[in-house]
């Protein structure tokens, strides 16, 4: 019976453009932190080793600091061996990060790169067979190749692979698709006993054997992930397997849509933002659709500005057109404009009522007028 930890898709060195420098720094740090967390967890759970199923690094051309820091993090738990598999982001090609001087010079003893499909003895009676990506576009099912010809001789074998599986993402044009059938056959033949996959960032079970899993990324990376932030603790014995999910992620990506047509809706948005816990490590994307009066718009803007200072990042509506500021009579009446000002106001209103680029500009002008007029009177 062996216990090990299955993780993948660390994508160290990942940046998100919507993060301001300060938030980006924290984001990056969190992802390195995750390594230590994993190491510590592995030790606490008595795992013999950790397999990282591909995409350890965001790219083969990440900066040195990322490589050094991650190796240092892995080094901090020297009793746990990390088996790293080159994936599609960090394939084992001529420019591979795993063969760079920085990596080679600083690799601690407990970090092993699976450079080919030769079985590696990880602990007593258990072998690891990796299917590393040799380049960015392999033309064959690497996992199937790695599995071919493995004997069923009683040795427990863990296959580490990376990529899409045909059952989850069928695509006749992808030659590198991992074929589920071959894996299940190998499992049935007792040649392999667990398949640790990477590439999907959400923890996902594949097939019905219970032995083929995507561990998912330890920290979320995007809004559309169903179940990120986990690692899998696997207890493997010749005839049974127990897979336990553990959450290690600290950040969250939240996306919400709101229909906004009045001050009540604005309040809803405000409440939603206020209610977020751990704002500093939350990335929020808001999709706002509707129209507001200028006054409400102003207020909403203020609320969003306030929220973006607190949150890790606040991504606003991607396209301005989703939320429209339509000035109503109230907006301007209080200002009591007359004469040419009133005439000008009417012109802008008329222009802003239509659709198209000019109307957008007109509405912006109205917003500006509103602000300027308010400061005049006050």
């Amino acid at each position: 019976m062996t216990k090990f930890l299955h993780t993948a898709d660390w994508q160290l060195g990942m940046t998100r453009h919507f993060l301001a420098d300060e938030a980006q720094a924290r984001f990056t740090a969190a992802r390195i932190e995750a390594i230590s967390t994993i190491g510590t967890l592995a030790m606490e759970e008595g795992c013999s080793f950790v397999v990282v199923g591909g995409d350890v690094f965001e790219s083969n051309q990440v900066e040195r600091q990322v490589v050094l820091r991650s190796l240092e993090a892995m080094k901090s738990t020297p009793d746990v061996t990390f088996y790293l598999l080159p994936g599609n982001h960090d394939p084992l090609d001529a420019a591979s990060v795993f063969r760079s001087t920085t990596f080679l010079d600083n690799r601690p003893a407990n970090v092993v790169v699976l450079e080919n499909s030769d079985p590696v003895l990880a602990a007593d009676g258990i072998e690891i067979v990796g299917a590393p990506w040799p380049n960015k576009r392999p033309l064959v099912d690497l996992v199937a190749d790695a599995v071919t010809g493995l004997p069923s001789d009683g040795t427990l074998r863990v296959v580490v692979g990376h990529g899409s599986t045909d059952s989850l993402s069928p695509d006749p044009n992808n030659p590198a698709l991992v074929v589920l059938g071959d894996l299940e056959a190998a499992l049935a033949a007792d040649a392999v006993h667990y398949v640790a996959l990477g590439d999907r960032h959400s923890t996902t079970e594949v097939g019905g054997t219970g032995r083929i899993w995507y561990s998912g990324a330890p920290e979320p990376t995007a809004y559309d992930e169903i179940d990120p932030g986990n690692v899998l603790i696997v207890e493997l014995s010749p005839d049974s397997v127990i897979v336990e999910r553990r959450h290690v992620g600290t950040w969250q990506f939240v996306r919400r849509e709101f229909d906004v047509t009045g001050s009540e809706d604005c309040q809803k948005v405000e409440h939603f933002l206020e209610d977020i816990t751990d704002k500093a490590r939350t990335i929020v994307k808001l999709s706002l659709v509707g129209q507001l009066s200028l006054a409400d718009m102003d207020r909403l803007e203020a609320a969003l500005g306030h929220a973006s200072d607190l949150l890790g990042a606040l991504e606003r509506w991607e396209r301005r057109c989703d939320l429209v500021a339509l000035p109503d009579g109230d907006d301007f009446e209080g200002l009591g404009l007359s004469g040419f000002a009133a005439a000008g106001l009417e012109d802008l209103r008329a222009l802003g009522a239509g659709a198209g680029e000019d109307s957008l500009v007109a509405r912006d002008a109205l917003g500006l007028l509103y602000r300027l007029a308010r400061t005049s009177t006050s």
Binding site: G13, H17, N60, Q61, E63, R64, D93, F340, G344
Partner: protein, 877 residues
Amino acid sequence: MRIHRIKLCNYRGVSQCEVTFPVQGVTIIEGDNEIGKTSLSEAIDLLLAERDDSSKQRVRAVKPAHKDVGAEVEIELSTGPYRFVYRKRWHRQRETVLDILEPQRSQATGREAHDKVRAILDETLDETLWEAFRLKQGAQLEQAAFAGGSLGRALDKAAGGDTTGDREDDLWERITAERERYWTATGQVKADRTTLATRVADANARVAALETALRSLDDDAAAVDRLCDEAEVLLERKNAQEKSAIALVAQFEAIQGRRSDVARLEGLRDTALAKRDHVLGISNVRAELTQRVVDTAAAVVELEAQVAGARPARQEVATRLHTVQQEFEAMKVESGQAEIAQRRATADRDFLRQQIEVAQLSERLARATDAARRRSEAEAVLDSSRVDDALVARIEAAGIEVAKAEAAAATGAATIGVEAMADVDLEIDGQADALLGGTTRQLMVDGSTEVSVPGLITVVVNAGAEAQALADRLAEARATFRATCEEGGVNDLAEARLAATERNEGARTLVETAKSITDDLRDLTADALAQKVASLTARIARYQQERPTEPPVPATHDAAELVAFEADADLQRRREELERLEKDLTRARDDMQALELGDASNGARLEQAQIAAAHEQRSLTEARGVMPDEAIDTQLADAEATLSARAAELSEAQSQLAAQDPETVEELLRNARAVQARLAGELHDNEVNVRELRTKLSLLGDEGLATQLDMAKSERAHLTVTHEQVEARATAAKLLFDTFARRRTEAHHRYVAPFREGIESLGRLVFGSSLGVELADDLSISRRTLDGVTLDFADLSTGAKEQLGMISRLACASIVATDGGAPVIFDDALGWSDPRKLERMGAAISKAGRSCQIIVLTCTPGRYASVGDASVVQLAS
């Protein structure tokens, strides 16, 4: 406000003055200077502004100088709803009285009254306007500032109540300021925006560059993989190549073996060839020698024949030679003889000729001598003759003179006629002259003539003076005659004539003889001629002596010539013959010589040919002794046989070699080696490339390009968003500004329209129908357009400025009149305008007067004469 009535008492120099004004229309107050016109205007100000206890200078100034009383001003005016009478007295017995008539009757005095009036005015009067409507002489070339104030309000109202206030103006300023954040005054993009746009562009560029670098890096990584695959392929090929090369090498060696065989056989063949050639050479030599023997023998035979054939010809030539020689000799002799004959004939001829010549010459000489003699005779004559024709003529003339004189004397002179009755001996002038009896002698008395009979009588007759004169003359003439005759050595004319004739003859003879001498002597002197004659004579004599008698000398010179001629011809003939014969002779001799030479050479040749033939024969005999002809033939046959055999062997070996296709094998082998070399090269290059790429990748790997790219993208996203936002704000600010500006300008135009139209309507009366004006924001006139020409107000003439200034006030007054306004007061304005303009201004003032109250103060009545509908008030002191 309207002024109804002003009254001045003891105001400056005015003791009393009261003027009533109609509420509307033009009132012209005329009066001389110092009559108090300006005082009227001043008084209003003083009344309204200064309290009765004011000690200001301007108050003190109005106190009458000649009376100790206070100045008084009373005014009745309406303003707003109020109408009141207001009176003040300063200086002495100060007083302020206010009597409000409308809306409610009330009174006030003193300070209260003053304050009340001030309050009323504050409430109802636009002070600025009131000030602006006071047009003083020479002061108002600036424009009135009507902006704001009651004109503004009136215009506002006229514009339909759509007025704007400070709020709108403030807002407008903010809008302008907002626009200025993004745009320059001229509508260009402000620098920061451009900078921002540049930064966005730069960020894009940086992202692109990094992406390119990463792509290139990927390409390099892929290239390494590819190169490694290639290396494998190359290696395989190299091994295959080496295997195939081995077989070729074996083939090649075999061929080399054959080649050496061929070479050896070639050598043998060459030797056989050499030997055969050698024997062939000997055989040829023998044949040649044999032939030469034959040839030389034949030559000898030929030459002998030639020699024999030459003899007869020679004989013939010799004979000819001899004949010719003889003839030649003969002719020579004859020739000599002919020559002698010829010489003799010539000499004869010459001799005869000489004889003739001598005769001729002698003749000539004789003639010449004779002529010489005659000549000397003539010369002698000439020498002695003293009379020439001229002298003769003179003598003749003198004779004539004498005759004349005689005649004259005879006629004039006394004559004595002596008649002798018997013979008598007379003496005439002492000259005995016998007279025979019966003869008469006429005597002329010249001077005095004495006729005497000697011993008897002497008669002296003296000629008279005249007769004397005549006698003198006669004597003179006679003297002359005598002298002349003496000159010539003659006695009278006849002698003279004779002498002259002799002389002439002599001269003629001289000439004749000279000619004769010349003819005869020709170019010789007489002596020479004589000498010649002598010599010739001598020669003749000699010849006669020497000449032999036979053949006889020809008789005549002609005959001699003939003989000479014939002798010449004969000689010539013989000489020619001689020449011909000489030529023949020479020819014959040449022929002979040639033949002899020929003979000699032929002989020599024959000798040589014989020697040669003998020599050749000897050689042949010797050679045959050493090796007979047959032996040579045999040797030759053997050598030929050997050669054929060797050649056949060689040919066989060569064809076998060719069958192996050696070139192809060689070529293949060379190619195989080349391919190997190339493969080695390619492998090497591949290695080098891979090494280079790996180095490059490892270096680039350290740079963390992916991270850089992410950061660049992030920055770009931020910048882009910011840029878009800024641009959106800029566009909005511009739209807002433009919209409001447009509306504002419209409003302004609408707003000022009544005012502008008012000005234009009055102005057209003055300037013409093409007048147009533009108003600035402060309602001053900014530009005037007239007849299509637009000028800024500042650029107009002084007169035009003055006129427009007045017109704008009039227009303003007309507009504000409905709402109160104020009276327009001109204090002798329009000083700058010309009479024509004045006339028109009058019309304008008149027109304006229909809607407001206009008061004109002037000391020049004519100035405002053209203001129709005006009430005129004359101020008199």
